[in-house]
């Protein structure tokens, strides 16, 4: 398949294709920057190619190489179900490239982000402003020569002086006062309203500047970046397993899926396969998180519509899910459970039964809320026909997940690019029709039920055994084992079992082999091996010490999982060291928020709330 694409491209743009190859099954084309627009247009419109979604657009900085920068386009074709990566090298002296924002609407925001982070200009871009950083920021933070420790506080001593702030405020007020638009030949003065960042429905992290004609939204400008935490910069500065705590904070409502997505990308880069049991554990934990995420989304949307009771019901159901997560990971939100090549620890005993009980609770609450909302006239009136996104727009904004499916496109990473044994599980993907808030609501409600089914099937199919294993040796506390090992009393230590504290329960030897890939490059040895044998100790040393650790070969990989909001992709570039050269996260709700301004144009002020609730904006992954 990639061969055909390469062939066609080389025939048509022979002068501009610099290189075409596959790496880890990813099709990659390196093209000259002068042809990027034509190539993209061809790939999008050609009937054989049909790459209609611009999944991702990111910059990479290869400091010291000439050309220094690279802009990476990840395209996806719904028709052929394949991805294509286009890489465009860009000269440091003239960091410019043609914009593709006229081809894909989402490119508008993606290109703004690349400009913000790398200072690469996009010729013909309608509105090239900073997006994640604030306007006063100097420099481009993701460039390799921007030191990670450099700080630029926005509020300095001179800003605290009132006299310096007031003029700018008055200036903008004046500009708004003097702004006159025309409608049907009449001069009309519209009202401007700053919705957010301190607004209850904006979750404190997003700003919408509304131009209002009475209650009707004439235009809307969405501003993000309030929760930017330099996830991508941090990830370049730390060893591979150290990134997991940062991924917890991406989509903090379903952090386990982020963990899984990142781990799978690194595993793809390393070309390793995890154990069967681990795959199912990852499925189970992902689906539990997905349920928690959907519960939060629908609950919060209902609450913002005034249906407080539905919200509380769903919060109780989510509590059941969080308890399940807590039992496995020891934490509720910042779980850091997955590791490259496995998971931290096995599931606790009798977990399947616990999950069964909690799923029953969740199903009961879903049924309650169905009764409260699904056919409630007021609720249906509030959400039907509101925030409509047509199929074409949804594709152009590269929506994924429930929002794309609500617009009637059948795309789910779990089905299209099955990972972690999702292909062995029988489940359905609900598809909507109208692309309005109501369809999104129904799809999320149905997906929760499907997730329950997936969890139940995963438990059925999961290879059992380790849980019921009989210990040969005797059990001793882990800290005592560590002491014995340190003093060289390693005799028989290998045959003993360490009893660890609750958060590490299930990580000792009998379980260890079930959840960790048998690959010494990535998997830490069990406590028993570390303290009981020299091989284990060396292995441990090699993985933990600075400068050693997990070192994927030089290369790059894009891997996506189905997050609760849609395609959660990671693009990782490795330079062969123990730290990633570039970690790019494709957050699903970035696209939704990019399309949100269009979604609410012409709607009423009150419609903003359900529309915003339905896109499930999670600032953690939006701003990274």
């Amino acid at each position: 398949m990639p061969r055909n694409i390469f062939k066609t491209l080389q025939q048509k743009f022979s002068d501009f294709i610099l290189e075409a190859y596959t790496y880890r099954d990813d099709a990659i084309v390196v093209v000259d920057r002068n042809a990027i627009y034509d190539i993209c247009k061809f790939l999008r419109d050609d009937s054989r190619m049909k790459f209609d979604l611009l999944m991702d657009l990111a910059g990479v900085d290869y400091l010291g190489r000439d050309p220094r920068f690279e802009v990476v386009y990840t395209l996806y074709s719904l028709k052929n179900n394949n991805r294509l990566r286009i890489k465009v090298p860009i000269d440091e002296r003239n960091p410019q490239i043609q914009t593709v924002s006229t081809l894909w609407k989402i490119a508008d925001w993606y290109e703004r982000e690349v400009w913000d982070m790398y200072g690469i200009r996009f010729k013909g871009h309608p509105d090239l402003r900073r997006i994640l950083m604030y306007d006063e920021f100097k420099g481009h933070p993701l460039r390799k020569d921007y030191p990670i420790t450099k700080r630029q506080p926005l509020i300095t001593a001179e800003y605290t002086n009132n006299s310096t702030i007031t003029p700018t405020v008055e200036l903008s007020n004046k500009a708004m006062d003097e702004y006159v638009s025309e409608e049907d030949g009449l001069k009309v003065k519209h009202m401007f309203l700053n919705m957010g960042p301190s607004h209850p429905a904006m979750h404190g992290v997003i700003k919408i500047i509304l131009e209002l004609d009475g209650e009707r939204v004439v235009s809307a400008d969405v501003g993000i970046g309030y929760l930017h935490r330099s996830f991508e910069k941090h990830s370049e500065s730390i060893y591979y397993n150290g990134v997991f705590p940062y991924t917890d904070r991406l989509n903090y409502v379903s952090p386990l899926i982020n963990n899984v997505g990142y781990a799978l990308t690194v595993e793809k880069l390393l070309d390793i396969e995890v154990t069967e049991r681990c795959k199912y554990i990852r499925i189970i934990m992902s689906e539990i998180s997905r349920i928690a995420d959907h519960l939060t989304c629908i609950g919060a949307m209902a609450m913002e519509l005034g249906a407080m009771t539905a919200f509380i019901y769903f919060m109780q159901a989510r509590e059941a899910m969080y308890q399940l997560i807590e039992e496995v990971t020891g934490a509720r939100i910042t779980i850091s459970y997955v590791r490259v090549g496995g998971v931290k620890a096995d599931l606790p005993e009798r977990y399947e039964k616990r999950v069964g009980e909690q799923l029953k609770k969740v199903r009961a609450e879903i049924k309650q809320v169905h009764k409260l909302l699904t056919r409630n006239r007021i609720f249906v009136d509030r959400v039907q026909g509101v925030g409509v996104v047509s199929k074409e727009d949804a594709i152009s904004f590269s929506f994924t997940g429930p929002l794309l499916r609500a617009s009637g496109v059948d795309y789910d990473v779990r089905k299209q690019f099955p990972y972690s044994n999702y292909d062995k599980i029988d489940f359905e993907i609900p598809i909507g029709k109208n692309g309005d808030v109501y369809d999104r609501y129904l799809i999320r409600m149905e997906e929760m039920e499907q997730s329950c089914l997936i969890i139940e099937q995963a438990f059925e199919k999961m290879p059992k055994g380790a849980i019921m294993v009989d210990f040969e040796g005797q059990e001793i506390p882990a800290e005592k084992m560590a002491d014995l090992g340190k003093f060289g009393q390693t005799k028989n230590l290998l045959h003993q079992v360490a009893v660890t504290d609750p958060t590490l329960l299930g990580s000792n030897k009998p379980y260890h082999d079930m959840v960790y890939a048998p690959d010494k490059r990535v998997s830490l040895p069990s406590k028993e091996k570390t303290y009981g044998s020299i091989e284990g100790l060396m292995n441990h040393f090699m993985l933990i010490m600075d400068g050693y650790g997990i070192r994927p070969p030089r290369g790059e990989a894009y891997f996506a999982v189905e997050g609760a909001n849609g395609e959660l992709g990671f693009y990782i570039v490795s330079d062969g060291t123990d730290k990633a050269h570039r970690v790019r996260c494709r957050p699903p709700c970035f696209a939704f928020v990019a399309g949100f301004g269009k979604m609410i144009e012409g709607a009423q002020v009150a419609d903003i709330v359900p529309a915003f609730g339905s896109i499930n904006m999670i600032a953690g992954e939006l701003d990274r």
Partner: protein, 360 residues
């Protein structure tokens, strides 16, 4: 003269205590009832000497908090109007109770005391006038805040309240046609009769459609969920956005007082006010012939109790609705008022008129 003023003052004290206590208690009821409905415990932390009394002290704690909080006024706000806005709001919410009868006639020492603060012969019209004025507190507060969100809230409130004022008037004309009076005490007395000798002639039975419409419009007038678009805390935060401390407290109190008000009016117009079935001025006269003589004070007590119970029932009902339904959108509220409730109540009047003419 002095005695008369004394009696009026006593009645005034009674009504005010009744209303304000109910209003205050409602803050507690709202928390506790919503907690019950949502499987929560609800407010229960406020305590005096360790006694918690299922969270009842929260009403007091709330009041103390409201009074002691800083009353903040934005720099740009219109000082005078910003200050009197909440006052106007509470004032018009409270004065409506003057015409609500809470009992029949109490005889003390040979003096007949009408258990109604102000026996106006324009009763219902007075209520409308007061209800119509309630919007000023909201609109002025909203405008004086000089905040676009508050302004939107004020606009929504004025549009909604004007629209529903029309509907409010039209929905009860059917009942007034039956009662043949607008004096509220008379209306309640009229409902003391029975149909076919056993069924109390309460308004809800004579005007079921009017009753449902009136209750809907009443809730809309009090700007509570599902009609709380002017507040819409997750959309525009509400007309009281800039208020803090007692200013906000007064707007909140208005909300609760209006809830009591709507319950009281509904009870008076449609549920026989202070009437207890088969209770006459001298005791019970059951339809099967039995009688039970009662003293005048006992009758009056029963009547006041009956009125209170009925009001409490409607308070409960409104709370249940408030915690069950989501919020309408502003234009949907207007559509409901003008396109559904108004025509239906007009038809209701027509049919009522026809039946009255035919029965003559």
């Amino acid at each position: 003269m002095v005695e008369g003023i004394g009696i009026v003052l006593l009645k005034l004290a009674f009504v005010l205590l009744f209303v304000l206590n109910f209003g205050g208690l409602l803050t507690w009821v709202e928390r506790k009832q919503s907690a019950l409905m949502q499987d929560r415990i609800g407010a229960n932390r406020a305590s005096i000497f360790g006694i918690r009394l299922i969270g009842l002290f929260h009403t007091i704690a709330d009041a103390v908090k409201m009074f002691t909080k800083e009353s903040f006024r934005p720099v740009a706000a219109e000082k005078f109007l910003f200050t009197i806005g909440p006052g106007i709001s509470v004032f018009f919410a409270l004065v409506g109770f003057a015409v609500i009868p809470f009992g029949d006639v109490l005889i003390i020492g040979g003096k007949e005391i009408n258990l109604q603060l102000a026996p106006l012969n324009i009763g219902v019209l007075y209520l409308f006038a007061v209800a119509g004025m309630a919007v000023y507190g909201v609109v002025l507060g909203a405008w004086a805040s000089k905040n676009n969100f508050a302004l939107l809230g004020g606009l929504r409130a004025s549009a909604q309240m004007i629209s529903y004022e029309v509907a409010l008037g039209v929905t009860i004309i059917g009942s007034l046609m039956i009662y043949q009076t607008v004096e509220l005490q008379e209306i309640v007395r009229w409902q003391g009769g029975t149909l076919w000798g056993w069924l109390p002639k309460w308004g809800v039975l004579m005007q079921p459609v009017g009753f449902i419409l009136f209750l809907t419009v009443g809730i809309a007038q009090s700007k509570r969920v599902p009609f709380d678009a002017p507040e819409g805390e997750s959309e525009i935060i509400g007309y009281f956005l800039e208020y803090s401390g007692m200013g906000f407290g007064m707007y909140m109190l208005t909300d609760f007082v209006e809830t009591v008000m709507i319950s009281a009016i509904t009870v008076t117009l449609f549920l026989g006010g202070w009437q207890v079935p088969y209770l006459m001025a001298d005791g019970f006269h059951f339809p099967w012939g039995a009688t039970w003589q009662l003293e005048n004070w006992a009758v009056a007590l029963l009547q006041v109790g009956s009125f209170t119970l009925k009001v409490m029932f409607f308070l409960w009902l409104q709370m249940t609705i408030r915690w069950t339904l989501p919020r309408f959108r502003y234009d949907q509220i207007m559509r409901l008022g003008w396109k559904y409730i108004l025509p239906i109540s007009l038809v209701n009047i027509l049919i009522t008129g026809l039946i009255i003419t035919l029965l003559k």
